[in-house]
């Protein structure tokens, strides 16, 4: 008896959350395909990242084994499935370890970005006033910067003072995305703020924190997974771009796919393709996976784009209630 009551209570508590994500179960067609393909690809790389020590044949900067140096620029073979680089490192291992680097940085950047951008947006959107105006002006100015440029400059500035390349890259990426989180959250808060039910709550004397918590937050939270996954995709691109230019994660600190591609550019002239192709493909697949996941979520959650599923109309089904003379017995 107790468990039944507890289940019902749990049921009732989580109904908001479940209702928010119900559309995913109803996903049809392309949106569904995108969602699951994206999730699959993303999880694949997450698995690579988490289980890197187990999966990777060699270390990320390992150029020898048992005193025996690996061949330089070796073609893909069964001992080096994706070949080796000019520094005799195994390309496949660098791909696997690289997954760890990418996801570490992106996860950090996401968390930082949300921690800074969301509260700022909530506060600014709900309370308005001078703070809001100032914040919007500031964020708009930030938007005017080419994001990659901003990231490069920040990575460049921090690179000398902060030791961890991962942290440097994460902060650089965060700075470029905070304006976006801020703007999206703020706009959403503003539109929700004007909703009749919020006005009603205010009229009933609810405190701002209560309103923010109960109504605004949940509404906004629905948007966050979509923005976060799409931002993660962009973050990977920014990170690899930084790596390509030599900023962010340094070669001594970890494997980074963008950096590998930059090293491969000189190999291309000699027709050596495996040093650049595999890291590049890894980037494409991870970003595609994240984007598909994000777009899939967007399609299913966003009501404007959601295509309602229909059942075929059948005029012969369920004829109207038949004669039921039994019910008439007095």
């Amino acid at each position: 008896m107790a468990t039944a009551a507890a289940t019902t209570r749990l049921h009732r508590r989580t109904i908001g959350l479940r209702r928010a994500f119900a559309p995913i179960a109803e996903a049809r067609g392309f949106a569904r395909g995108m969602l699951w393909t994206g999730a699959g690809l993303t999880l694949f790389f997450v698995a690579l990242a988490i289980f890197a020590p187990l999966i990777s044949p060699y270390g990320f900067d390992q150029y020898q084994s048992g005193g025996h140096r690996f061949a330089q620029l070796a073609h893909p073979s069964h001992s080096h499935l994706f070949g080796t680089t000019v520094q005799s490192t195994d390309v496949l291992s660098r791909i696997v370890w690289g997954a760890q680097t990418e996801l570490e940085v992106v996860a950090l950047a996401l968390v930082f970005g949300l921690l800074v951008g969301v509260p700022l947006g909530l506060f600014s959107g709900y309370f308005g006033g001078a703070f809001d105006r100032g914040a919007v002006l500031f964020m708009d100015a930030m938007f005017a910067f080419p994001p990659l440029l901003l990231a490069i400059v920040i990575a460049f500035l921090l690179g000398s003072s902060v030791n961890s390349g991962v942290l440097v890259a994460a902060i650089a990426i965060t700075v470029t995305y905070v304006p976006q989180y801020f703007r999206v959250v703020r706009n959403h808060v503003i539109s929700v703020r004007e909703e009749p039910y919020v006005e009603a709550a205010r009229a009933l004397g609810a405190k701002p924190t209560t309103i923010l918590r109960r109504y605004v937050f949940f509404n906004v939270v629905q948007n966050v997974p979509v923005i976060a996954t799409l931002n993660a995709a962009d973050a990977v691109l920014t990170l690899t771009a930084l790596g390509f230019l030599g900023y962010g994660v340094q070669p001594t600190q970890g494997a980074e796919w963008g950096y590998d591609v930059s090293r491969a550019v000189s190999d291309a002239a000699s027709g050596i393709w495996w040093t650049g192709l595999f890291p590049g493909l890894a980037i494409v697949l991870l970003v595609t996976g994240l984007t598909l996941l994000g777009e899939g979520l967007n399609e299913t959650i966003n009501p404007v784009l959601r295509k309602r599923a229909f059942r075929r109309v059948d005029f012969a089904a369920s004829p109207s209630q038949a004669l039921a003379s039994e019910t008439l017995e007095p």
């Binding site: 938007f143 005017a144 910067f145 994001p147 440029l149 400059v153 590049g280 980037i283 991870l286 595609t288």
Partner: protein, 342 residues
């Protein structure tokens, strides 16, 4: 056109006025960022090559030993007059760098935008129109994968395939050395200069050099447009006036082309402006991959040399360009959509 003209003018003036505080913040931001780095900008870029006494002298000459707010004042005043400063490492005026290399970047981004628009419009419109059909699925997937491909990777592949294996197209520089020697400088934009000179051989050479970098950069950003245009077409087709048009018996083709497409394009113009910032970032990568002598490439080199003055000047320019472009875009928007003016 009378009533229209004045409202357009009024809009332009208000818009320009709003931009000034934003520019102010932008410039201040760059200044602050550059000064945040520890140490003296001069010693950062020249230190180690040059004796300390000389560094002190140069610092004094360039004004880096004055108090910060004085430096700030000078900096703002300079920018207003169009003086973007002088580089520390090779004493060139940033203004001249902008003119020469900026022209190269302009050439690249211009053609890249054309490629992006063509790809984005065609695929996006078709995908939106035939929503949920295989055309739509294919178009969207194409857009997503192409955007997921880093510009430098696409560039690398392009170089491998078209440059090395097929040997059809050149993979670096803006034009061959011969062309560069023979071409007279008018605007610094090689493409335009070749046309002015009537030098068709040079034009062909320049075009060949343009194809790979512009297509690479354009393709990646085309991917962004595809997504955007498609969504707009879908949204527009749901609008009330579309149903009303169908109720009047307007055929589907007219409904889609005259009403939906045109209306769907309106937000696109804005997005081009917003994407410009992204495009400039991509230009940096493309120029580095293809050794294209544009501003992005220069920026990269100056960053390596830790030449803060040069970096500052170029970054300010990038910011200004984006802000100005957004004004132009807003203006164009107001022209297309009469509702915006109010």
């Amino acid at each position: 056109m009378g009533v229209q003209g004045s409202s357009l003018k009024r809009y332009a003036i208000t818009r320009l006025a709003l931009v000034i505080p934003m520019l102010f913040i932008l410039l201040t931001l760059v200044f602050v960022l550059m000064r945040v780095a520890p140490g003296n900008p001069v010693s950062a870029s020249l230190g180690g090559h040059v004796p300390p006494a000389v560094i002190k002298q140069i610092s004094h000459q360039l004004g880096y030993d004055k108090p910060l707010y004085t430096q700030y004042g000078h900096y703002m005043w300079d920018v207003v007059r169009g003086n973007f400063g002088t580089t520390i490492s090779d004493r060139r005026s940033v203004g001249s760098i902008i003119l020469v290399n900026g022209a190269a970047t302009l050439e690249l981004t211009f053609f890249a935008v054309i490629v992006a628009l063509v790809v984005g419009l065609v695929v996006g419109l078709l995908a939106g129109r035939y929503r949920d059909s295989p055309i739509d699925a294919g178009g969207r997937l194409f857009g997503i994968v192409v955007y997921a491909t880093p510009v430098f990777f696409l560039g690398l592949l392009a170089q491998l395939v078209f440059g090395v294996w097929l040997n059809w197209l050149p993979t670096s520089d803006q034009a061959s050395p011969i062309t560069q020697a023979l071409l007279k400088t008018h605007t610094n934009i090689f493409f335009v200069d070749a046309i002015i000179d009537g030098n068709w051989g040079a034009l062909w050479d320049v075009t060949k050099h343009l194809i790979l970098p512009a297509t690479t950069l354009g393709l990646v950003y085309g991917g962004v447009f595809i997504r955007l245009i498609r969504i707009n077409v879908i949204r527009t087709l749901k609008e009330d006036y579309i149903e009303a048009a169908r109720a009047r018996g307007i055929n589907e083709r007219s409904v889609v082309y005259r009403h939906a497409f045109k209306n769907a394009l309106v937000p696109v113009v804005t997005v081009i402006g917003l994407q410009l910032a992204l495009l400039l970032g991509g230009a940096i990568l493309t120029e580095t991959t293809f050794n294209w002598p544009g501003l992005g490439h220069e920026l990269y080199i100056y960053l390596q040399n830790r030449d803060y003055a040069a970096v500052q000047g170029i970054v300010v320019l990038f910011g200004l360009v984006v802000v100005l472009a957004s004004i132009v875009i807003d203006f164009v928007n107001a022209f297309i959509d009469p509702r915006v003016r109010y």
